[in-house]
């Protein structure tokens, strides 16, 4: 009686991966990287003219207290006027205004709103300080600033119309909610987790197929009844689930650390508070879920790519070299936004895509009369790519010839 034994083979493939010390060493390095990245904002001291002024941790505590005091307030005329009045207390012409007593006492509690006005309107620091608070003007200037950014991004009229419609769907005036913990997860941590995850996947999975050849166990596998079919899928399944599991561990650690250090609130905060230039009516929490979902999809796709490449190259080191080289090259090569299509495609590849400005890119993808945003279409493209790679991989796998040993 013959059985497919997919489950059993899957368990053994997982066991093979888990038994590799290199995998655990890489996981350890990645987790240390996550911890350092999350905590780095709280480390170190703040010096002015060589003199210790404060610790970053204490500065953060003060700012957090002020931000939490603002949480729940609507960004309306009243709040904007309070901000304007507070900033007006700063002595004019102060060279480093943040060092003045007036800033520390009156303006600093409103610095979060000040920064919000600055990023929404595109005004410079001095312009905001001189700005006459006006709720209507704030949202109008935000719209104008977005229009300018859309123009710079070479959006088509159809895309602009789409974003205008989305911008109109955002409840205004916006309510400020304290979101720092989730905001760090959604905005700052994604590129870090992304690079660590890609390295983890490359190191962990480059041996799944290649090592069977170097270890010469391939002959035993390929002569088994299920060796040319089920064994392949078991390896792929084990690889992608391990990649996803590793990514989930990194994500979970990031979220736990960020929420415990910076606060757990703000799931319902408008995403525009954390990322000004995006008009889709999302909350910070939703944006975070989208990004972490994309990280998982990328881990799966990256895993499949690494495994298939290792089967093509029959060498885990060569696979690792290609993957690492690709990650480094993609960080160094910049395609100007003027070459819109090329730039957009280049930004879709995993080592570039995993950043808030690419996941929430305003440039859209026209498809069968629809205009899709990148976080909707790119994960689907990744999964399609993964499926194609699996199909190509099994052809290479089945055709492998044991010779010349």
């Amino acid at each position: 009686m013959q059985n497919h034994n997919l489950g059993t083979l899957y368990c053994y493939e997982m066991k093979k991966i888990m038994k590799r010390k290199l995998v655990w060493a890489t996981m350890f390095v990645c987790l240390v990287g996550v911890i350092v990245a999350v905590c780095s904002g709280l480390m170190g001291n703040y010096y002015v003219d060589g003199e210790l002024r404060d610790t970053h941790y204490h500065m953060y505590q003060v700012d957090r207290q002020y931000m939490e005091a603002l949480s729940g307030r609507v960004v309306d005329q009243q709040l904007l006027t309070q901000m304007e009045e507070a900033y007006a207390m700063i002595p004019p012409g102060a060279e480093r205004y943040t060092l003045t007593e007036e800033y520390q006492t009156y303006a600093r509690p409103y610095s979060e709103i000040f920064n919000l006005v600055r990023t929404w309107t595109g005004m410079k620091m001095e312009e905001v300080k001189a700005w006459k608070a006006d709720e209507q003007a704030l949202y109008r200037m935000r719209q104008e600033n977005l229009e300018k950014e859309w123009q710079d991004a070479m959006l088509t009229e159809k895309e602009k119309a789409f974003w205008r419609e989305k911008e109109a769907q955002i409840d205004k005036p916006v309510t400020y909610l304290y979101y720092d913990g989730l905001g760090r997860c959604a905005v700052h941590m994604v590129p870090t987790i992304g690079v660590l995850m890609l390295l983890f996947v490359a190191v962990s999975l480059s041996g799944i197929f290649a090592e069977e050849h170097t270890r010469r166990t391939d002959q035993l596998i390929l002569t088994g009844a299920k060796g040319k079919s089920t064994a392949y899928y078991a390896k792929i399944l084990a690889g992608i689930s391990f990649a996803a599991l590793g990514t989930l561990v990194m994500e979970t650690l990031t979220v736990i650390l960020a929420l415990s250090l910076y606060g757990a609130g703000g799931f319902e905060a408008a995403f525009q508070l954390a990322y000004a230039g995006y008009s889709y009516p999302l909350t910070v929490g939703q944006a975070c879920l989208i990004e972490y979902g994309i990280l998982l999809v990328t881990a799966v796709t990256g895993g499949v790519f690494v495994m298939v490449l290792s089967e093509v190259l029959h060498n885990s080191l060569a696979t690792l070299a290609v993957c690492t080289g690709w990650i480094i090259a993609s960080m160094m090569i910049y395609i100007p936004e003027q070459s819109r299509v090329l730039c957009q495609i280049w930004n879709w590849q995993p080592s570039n895509f995993l950043a808030v400005w690419n996941v929430f890119d305003v440039r859209m993808i026209p498809l069968f009369g629809w205009c899709l945003v990148s976080w909707q279409i790119v994960p689907v493209l990744y999964l399609l790519f993964a499926l194609m790679a699996v199909a190509l991989g099994i052809r290479v796998y089945r055709r492998y010839q044991v010779s010349g040993r």
Binding site: N3, K19, R215, R216, T217, G224, G227, Q401, S403
Partner: protein, 234 residues
């Protein structure tokens, strides 16, 4: 039960490793003799479906070598097989049993039986990286028998075995050959001269002798060595 090898050929760029080998095998033990580089391993790999021939066909009871059904009746011990150092002997056999499509409960029973057969039952929970060369070879033999193969292909199976183990192994092969086809390659004549029903001798990719051998025909080793002498003379 019949294994039909028809004009099987493997040609590399400027070298013919196996040259139009044709054999029909029925149940029994077939001893494949040949010097290093004669083409034994290449021939065996083609019979196992892990090396594509340049020409010719291989079929077992009408099943082509490329079919899953063929692999289901095949047991193979490669000359230089690898293992997973962190796996225990039992894990290794259960993993290979899963690859052969054997249900887990049946595989556990079979693995225990085979570990006893190759005298590794005491070491069943030890990691393979702690095994001696002979123990690994015995484990290799055990894995080849997991699916009760009707076609058993053993490439230099006695390598690494001590004299006592070699004798036990020869007896085992003799028993196995009663109800299946066993093809066993070696360059040590004593490994097969008393147990092989048929002798196949390879030289430079060709079969130079095929048939039974009995004492009346003279000394097999002397005949085998004479073939080398001819080769050296050439």
């Amino acid at each position: 039960m019949e294994l039909v090898i028809d004009r099987l050929t493997k040609q590399y760029r400027n070298r013919i490793a196996v040259d139009r080998v044709s054999v029909k095998m029925q149940q029994g033990v077939y001893g494949l003799l040949g010097a290093n580089g004669a083409g034994k391993t290449t021939l065996m790999r083609m019979l196992c479906g892990i090396l594509r021939p340049t020409g010719g066909t291989v079929a077992f009871d009408g099943m082509d070598v490329s079919e899953e059904a063929y692999r289901a009746v095949l047991g193979y011990l490669p000359q230089d097989f690898g293992y997973y150092p962190e796996f225990t002997a039992t894990d290794f056999l259960l993993y290979l049993a899963a690859l052969k499509g054997i249900p887990r409960a049946q595989a556990k029973k079979k693995a225990a039986e085979l570990l006893e057969l190759v005298s590794l039952q005491e070491s069943r929970r030890k990691k393979i990286k702690t095994f001696s060369g002979g123990m690994k070879q015995r484990l290799g033999i055990a894995q080849a028998l997991l699916n009760d193969p009707r076609l058993l292909i053993l490439d230099e199976p006695t390598a690494g075995l001590d004299p006592k183990e070699r004798v036990r192994f020869r007896n085992l092969i003799e028993r196995l050959g009663k109800d299946r086809i066993v093809l066993l390659s070696t360059h040590i004549v004593s490994d097969i001269e008393h147990i092989a029903d048929q002798i196949l001798m390879m030289k430079a990719g060709r079969l130079i002798y095929q048939g039974g051998w009995d004492e009346e025909m003279g000394d097999l080793e002397a005949f085998y060595l004479s073939q080398f002498a001819e080769e050296e003379g050439e």
